[in-house]
């Protein structure tokens, strides 16, 4: 029999859920514990260049030096970039579309050198600007999950 065109093209559909247990490491654990129990943001400082990393991690990449000194940074900071998302993207927690509009932002917390990525309460682009000051809004019940323990950042009235 010679090759012939199929009367239909078959597509096989399957979900591929894989449960993981990711270690946070010592730095990540201390950071999330301070957030959960004391509503504090901790950073870690490179002994070589002095850069303060939030979230904290073991190594300063540019220096290739082990970070060594813990510092508390503010729960307020400055927005360095933002985006109001208007498409219903897939929520990684549920696999379902997430409600929009929805604002992502980078916030440089007072005393930190890196930016933290989180959500902003404001979704009107006209009321958002780079350089605006914002403050973390904490959840009443906190579990050590930064996306839930910090509900979002809201604008600080000047």
């Amino acid at each position: 029999m010679s090759l012939k065109a199929p009367p239909e093209l078959i597509v096989f559909q399957q979900m591929a859920d894989v449960p993981y247990n990711w270690s946070l490491g010592r730095e990540g654990s201390l950071f999330l514990i301070a957030l959960r129990d004391e509503k504090k943001f901790l950073g870690i400082k490179c002994p070589s260049c002095g850069k303060v990393y939030v979230p904290p991690r073991k190594v300063c990449g540019p220096c290739f030096t082990a970070n060594s000194q813990w510092v508390e940074v503010g729960d307020e900071g400055v927005v360095t970039a933002f985006s109001v998302v208007n498409y219903r993207f897939t929520d990684p927690a549920t696999g379902l579309p997430r409600e929009v509009p929805y604002t992502f932002a980078f916030v440089r917390l007072d005393g930190a050198d890196t930016k933290l990525c989180h959500k902003l309460a404001e979704t009107d682009p006209a009321r958002l600007k780079v350089g605006m000051r914002v403050k973390a809004v904490f959840a009443e019940q906190r579990t050590g999950n930064i996306e839930k323990d910090v509900i979002h950042f809201r604008a600080v009235q000047a």
């Binding site: 993981y20 970039a81 985006s83 897939t90």
Partner: protein, 380 residues
């Protein structure tokens, strides 16, 4: 590295939103045969293979092993790069340069239509600090675009010039997915995806594959195809966490370009490079990458593009193929830039050929928001 290794064959599929009739291995088989035919050789002339694929896109652990038959690697030395196609090409080039191999086939495949792209790109992020927020490629790039435009005063209209140009160029490329005539106003009026990015600022999703064959000087001299020599290549990467980087900066691209230009003996890319193919998943990225490649100063990409410098009839045509905005088959896209630059040097680019190309630049990017870059300088 002048004239040590040549590209002797290239092959591409047509890029389409949904190639429902082919498996990803079918696409690999198609482009492998096209590249062999282009080089005028058979699979017996290939002594090793580098495949490029992504397990999350393919939904399969070590999915590279699933294309061994289709790329002619049966019984051969084969290895894999999971990253942009330019990095697979870099590995293939190194294998020939090492002297251990004479002819390397590099083949990349991706079917963006088969997996949920939001979830796959979301999975590129750190699972603890970024992933649960829901960021993926579009929203992360929107944050980068905002930072870039805010830092330098680049306008949405300047960014919109890129999709207008590239979709127009794509009309001359039979492999492109989205060829169309657009105006800046149409781009600006298209729905906002994630501010400041609009629908027409963004690349489509594509299915496709691409293959490139590298040969040493001795082998290249025995082939009928005009050899295209690898004059220089450079790769450089920035920090993983987006919050560690100044997203308006292009330090890693500047570093990659400096290394490639150094090997190629290029002092001023504006004087020595005739055509450019860059990996621009969004309009603003082409502006940024031109700054990093040294075609204009930091922050001047918008002004440079508005001056007509990158048009087909401008002094430095950028993305005559239509670029990634006209077809985005994921990590295949960088290898496509090399294949297209190669065709330009050979004079085989058909209706999208730029006149008098002696030296072409191909650029690929790896990771989110241009974390890493790979720059290639090819010459005849």
């Amino acid at each position: 590295m002048l004239d040590e290794v040549a590209i002797v064959g290239v092959g591409q599929t047509k890029y389409e939103r949904r190639k429902i009739g082919e498996t990803f291995a079918d696409l690999v088989f198609e482009v492998t045969n096209k590249a062999l035919e282009d080089a005028g050789i058979t699979i017996r002339d290939i002594d090793n293979v580098v495949t490029v694929s992504n397990d999350f896109q393919d939904g399969r652990t070590i999915s590279s092993m699933a294309v061994m038959d289709a790329c002619g690697a049966f019984g051969k030395n084969v290895s894999t790069v999971e990253g942009d196609g330019t990095l697979g090409a870099l590995y293939g080039l190194m294998r020939v340069l090492s002297g251990a191999f004479e002819t390397t086939l590099v083949v990349a495949h991706c079917k963006c239509s088969e997996g949920d792209q939001d979830l796959i790109w979301n999975s590129a992020f750190d699972p603890v600090y970024y992933r649960r927020l829901g960021l993926e490629a579009v929203s992360a790039s929107a944050l980068q675009a905002r930072r870039y435009m805010d830092k330098y005063g680049v306008t949405g209209e300047q960014c919109a010039l890129v999709p207008v140009k590239n979709h127009r160029n794509a009309r001359a490329n039979p492999w492109a997915q989205e060829a169309m005539d657009l105006t800046v106003e149409e781009v600006m009026r298209s729905p906002v995806l994630a501010s400041p990015l609009k629908m027409l600022d963004a690349a489509p999703l594509s299915d496709g594959a691409c293959a490139v064959i590298f040969a040493n000087r001795w082998k290249a001299g025995r082939m009928t195809t005009k050899p295209v020599w690898v004059r220089g290549v450079g790769h450089c990467a920035d920090a993983y966490y987006l919050g560690d980087r100044d997203l308006a900066g292009v330090d890693s691209l500047t570093g990659a370009a400096k290394r490639a230009y150094g090997l190629a003996g290029i002092v001023d890319p504006r004087k020595e490079i005739d055509v450019v193919e860059v990996f621009e998943a969004f309009g603003y990225q082409e502006l940024m990458w031109l700054e990093g490649l040294g075609f204009c100063d930091p922050g001047q990409g918008g002004v440079f593009t508005a001056g007509g410098n990158t048009l087909m009839d401008g002094p430095w045509p950028v993305n005559p193929s239509g670029g990634v905005l006209s077809a985005h088959p994921g990590l295949v896209a960088g290898l496509v830039r090399i294949a297209e630059a190669c065709l330009q040097v050979r004079g085989d680019a058909g209706a999208r050929q730029v006149d008098g190309v002696r030296t072409a630049l191909a650029h690929g990017t790896n990771g989110l928001c241009g974390q890493g870059h790979c720059v290639w300088v090819l010459g005849g």
